[in-house]
């Protein structure tokens, strides 16, 4: 058994990297995989908060790298998924505390025992980003359907290709089908036209994300089906395991009605 290392990155901040990392890690664990999520955002850590594990942190990634603890001691077991672990970032240090080769070493130590390692990258194109992609076998680029995040995604895809980590896979996050229909939001086709990389997920805007983030419980653990963000995360997880899952239908008529119905009555 040898783990696949997947890095979630975006260039622009606030597009949903951490939410997607937490949900994909959880979804993969729910499929029975052994998963370790690593927060590479040293100094601005969030993944622990989103996963509801903040109060269990004793050691972090920097402690591992600087030899203050063994790797095992920094792996926080998830509250709900028995095969899910988090290696948190340090909050009181900065990106320079870890080097790309440290990240490769940590992942290589984990590989024999783990199925998937998910790395949550910080925003930006500097050291933190290079740390996050150094050990990656696959890179997921997150973008929102608006021009500035697509612009940054394009830049980051170029950097990933330059590091020979391509082809990156694209996740379009926070899609609002009704806005696309009105022509107020970039459509999936518009985004793909610019970025021209394989699509691996489309996550619809879903206000339950906010609720689950504040509760520290990834949304995939709640059982909404149909056209929902939760189902979209599960689909991406299945695609990561190699399954061929068709994309959800976001088309307007009669899709919108079904989608709205799901939003209102589905939970």
């Amino acid at each position: 058994m040898s783990a696949k290392v997947i890095t979630v990155t975006s260039g622009k901040g606030g597009v949903g990297k951490t939410t997607i990392s937490a949900n994909l890690a959880t979804a993969l664990a729910m499929l029975g995989k052994r998963v370790v999520a690593i927060d590479a955002d040293i100094g601005l850590r969030n993944l622990d908060v989103v996963m509801g594990l903040e109060n269990r942190i004793v050691y972090d990634l920097v402690d591992v790298v600087e030899g203050r603890c063994r790797l095992r001691q920094a792996m926080i077991k998830d509250k709900r998924q028995p095969e899910l672990y988090l290696i948190p970032a340090a909050q009181t240090r900065d990106k320079m505390a870890v080097s790309p080769s440290d990240m490769i070493l940590v992942c290589d130590q984990l590989r024999p025992e783990i199925d998937y390692i998910l790395i949550d990258s910080p925003a930006g194109i500097e050291r933190g980003f290079r740390n996050a992609i150094a050990p990656a076998d696959q890179v997921l680029v997150v973008t929102n359907p608006e021009v500035s995040s697509v612009r940054d995604a394009d830049r980051i895809i170029g950097l990933i290709e330059a590091e020979e980590k391509g082809p990156a896979h694209l996740i379009i996050n926070r899609l609002k089908p009704e806005m696309v229909a009105r022509g107020d939001m970039l459509s999936i086709a518009d985004v793909l036209d610019i970025l021209a990389i394989p699509l691996i997920g489309i996550i619809p805007e879903d206000e339950n994300i906010l609720v689950s983030t504040n509760q520290g419980m990834p949304l995939v653990m709640s059982s909404t089906n149909g056209v929902s963000a939760s189902q979209a995360f599960r689909n991406v997880a299945l695609r990561l395991t190699g399954q061929d899952v068709p994309f959800m239908d976001f088309s307007q008529k009669p899709g919108l009605r079904g989608w709205l119905k799901n939003l209102i009555g589905g939970r």
Partner: protein
């Protein structure tokens, strides 16, 4: 309780079980003596966790494994090996044994841990008997270390760390992480006007507030009682 026999093997009660120290002599002899010693005291020792101090004696992985099995035959769990020799430590780690006692202030190789220095923080002004007074709110990412007591006139937000060798007093809301008695003082206390931390540590104890904890906005203090960190209402004595 220390029990040293004529065999040179000592058995001592420690907080996490028993500390067994091997005496001098040939490895094979020591093994035989240990076996006899354990057989004699089997009923008394049964089920204990064992920390084994081997001192300078170099032991191969295979020898450690033999000792581990010997303990197992007496229904004792060997979980840590305290050795001076690096090779012995490496061998112990290969057998997934610990090489130090929990809460000790040394790293995995037995070297004294350095107290991390505050980086890029302005030097705080110490007052009185080694206490540190900070008149500000500590936001996420701030870390304060001090080899004495720390008094904060302000809040400690989630993501901030306060680590003190002595007591920690927060004249404000404590929502982040506080470690009092960080060098091992179990009598250290943590008090706050509103005690609602992410995590508290006193000496080598760690506590997470229960999720169902009702919110009290009265001054509280956290202390170690019966080996556990307990929060209680603050009463002046």
């Amino acid at each position: 309780m220390t029990h040293r026999t004529e065999t040179g093997i000592s058995i001592k009660g420690i907080r996490d079980g028993l500390l067994v120290t091997l005496g001098d002599g040939e490895y094979a002899d020591v093994l035989v003596r240990l076996d006899a010693e354990l057989a004699e005291k089997q009923e008394f020792l049964q089920g204990s966790r064992i920390a084994l101090a081997v001192g300078q004696r170099p032991l191969q992985r295979q020898q450690l494994s033999e000792i581990q099995q010997l303990f197992a035959r007496h229904r004792l769990l060997l979980w840590t090996v305290l050795a001076d020799a690096d090779d012995t430590k490496t061998a112990a780690r290969e057998l997934e044994l610990a090489t130090r006692l929990p809460g000790s202030q040394t790293d995995l190789d037995g070297k004294q841990l350095q107290t991390p220095l505050p980086d890029r923080q302005p030097a705080p002004t110490p007052i009185g008997t080694g206490a540190l007074l900070l008149k500000e709110t500590l936001r996420s990412g701030r870390a304060v270390y001090h080899e004495g007591a720390i008094i904060i006139l302000g809040d400690v937000n989630p993501g901030a760390e306060v680590i003190a060798a002595g007591d920690v007093i927060v004249w404000g809301r404590l929502r982040g992480l506080v470690h009092a008695g960080a060098l091992g003082d179990e009598t250290a206390v943590i008090c706050a006007l509103d005690l609602n931390p992410t995590q508290l540590r006193i000496a080598d104890q760690i506590a997470i507030p229960p999720e169902t904890r009702r919110r009290k906005s009265e001054p509280e203090q956290a202390v170690i009682r019966d080996g556990q960190i307990t929060a209680e209402a603050w009463h002046s004595r």
